[in-house]
Symmetry: C2
């Protein structure tokens, strides 16, 4: 199939490579051009604008940082809607606000073009292995025709409903991620200050009601190593927590913990940890309590 991919960042690049490996034609565009050259070397055709991608593709994937970028790439002056034929499909893997996503969906509809919001979870490793979780909103018929393509990129693929539903699902997941991320900091600083061995605490919690995916992510990979090289930056988490707050407020749902966890995340970013992994929220609390979470071993 003739595909396009726009936004070849940490996640987008390995996803685009998987589409190529599956035997599809792929036109690619990215603001920074070095990665475009890499993809071209792997068999993709380089494009110099979104419009050019739209000329060559029936289905275009997006993986962009923020909603403004998605609007620009889709509906901007040199955007996809200037060249994509009616009946084409845009699949947006970006995490953006449900309201922005619905606005872009409606704009595409005017042009007879399908638009699916399809945010992803599973990190760079999941993107490379093609094992992402994909949360999809939009027209069911568009989801059905995109399914063979989603299966190249991911494993757990869920259709959640109307346009924006995929983004809502993603924000709900990241809301829990943000709260648990900050909660683990409180728990492990308390453990360390009490003289407990954090490796033992981890082992006990893994088998108890305090267990979570975030526990198994943050402790062995970041906190116990005291290494916060980012898999998912605190700045990205803060962005998503902000979107969740804004969305919940529009829905009339009170997010007390979500709001506080967002403030805690911002505090850590103000302290200079925004570009580190989200697990680095723990550093502020370590400093305040005058303790480091290190194992006795």
């Amino acid at each position: 199939m003739k595909l396009g991919f726009i936004g070849l960042g940490k996640m987008g690049k390995p996803m685009a490579l998987n589409l190529l490996k599956a035997g599809h034609e792929l036109a690619v565009y990215n603001r920074s051009t070095q990665v475009v050259a890499e993809l071209a070397a792997a068999g993709a055709s380089a494009a110099s604008s979104a419009a050019e991608v739209g000329k060559r593709a029936e289905v275009v994937f997006l993986c962009l940082p923020v909603g403004k970028d998605v609007k620009e790439i889709v509906a901007g002056e040199d955007g996809l809607l200037t060249t994509l034929k009616p009946g084409s499909l845009i699949i947006d893997h970006s995490t953006i606000s449900p309201a922005d996503s619905r606005e872009i969906f409606a704009k595409c509809q005017e042009f007879g073009i399908g638009f699916l919001d399809a945010p992803i979870s599973g990190g760079v490793v999941g993107a490379e292995k093609g094992t992402l979780s994909i949360m999809v909103g939009g027209a069911k018929a568009d989801f059905d025709r995109a399914m063979p393509l989603f299966e190249i990129l991911g494993e757990d693929i869920t259709y959640l409903g109307d346009s924006g539903s995929g983004e809502v699902m993603k924000l709900i997941n990241n809301l829990l991620v943000g709260i648990t991320n900050a909660a683990l900091a409180e728990a492990f600083v308390l453990a360390a200050k009490s003289g407990l061995d954090p490796k033992q605490v981890l082992a006990v919690l893994e088998k108890a009601t305090g267990d979570s995916a975030m526990l198994r992510r943050n402790l062995p990979n970041f906190i116990l190593k005291q290494d916060y090289s980012p898999a998912f930056t605190l700045d990205m988490l803060n962005k998503d927590m902000g979107l969740a707050e804004e969305y919940a407020m529009a829905q009339g749902v009170r997010l007390l913990l979500g709001s506080l966890a967002h403030q805690i995340g911002r505090e850590a970013a103000y302290s200079g940890y925004g570009a580190e992994d989200m697990a680095a929220v723990v550093k502020v609390l370590e400093d305040l309590a005058g303790v480091k979470i290190v194992s006795a071993e």
Copy 2:
């Protein structure tokens, strides 16, 4: 071995039965006497006071609601210390403050009697099946001699260090439980208000970074059934969250999320849900948002 058991509540009763089944002699005492008669029918010897249990046993298990009860049963007028021989051991499965636990440990030491804090996790089902997690603090030699007895009651048995360490570990687990319990309420009310199917949201989260033991506990067993028959009451959780806050303050560790989750739990108790399962915190938020978390199916 000659054992004693004091505090035959929801957890204590099945634990005492397991000790009997393992072939030990067991003297039992409980404030309400009906359960004592049940245990006697199963082969235990009924005692009419803690002191009487102390006369007949070398190792005495406690499973009591609050620290005041443990102090009274151990060091009160008719307490264990009036009759237990030097070299005996008290194993306290209650969840109480680490400070109370250390105070009782020191008191026992004066009498040449060992005291282990050994709070448990795993619920009534774990107590019945003998699969509890047991978090132990106190003298290592006492832990070692108690190990064959712990193995009758539980599966994951961890020695965490000096007196009080078991209680600290338990409070850290329940701190995470309390925060996640309230966080799930925010996440699922937001999902319901957005028109997402909560069963689908559960299925997606179970495979994503938002997964947790509390998600797998609260959603299928309580929230999706809209049935809050208690496995662990909100009042009990609030008690433990209060202990965690008090302890963290004494340690100089800031618990922002823990403190807020405690307030959210109290709010739900003030609204009349204290005797229901802790998952009932969600009801306050359902009412505020004017939505029920029900599946489309």
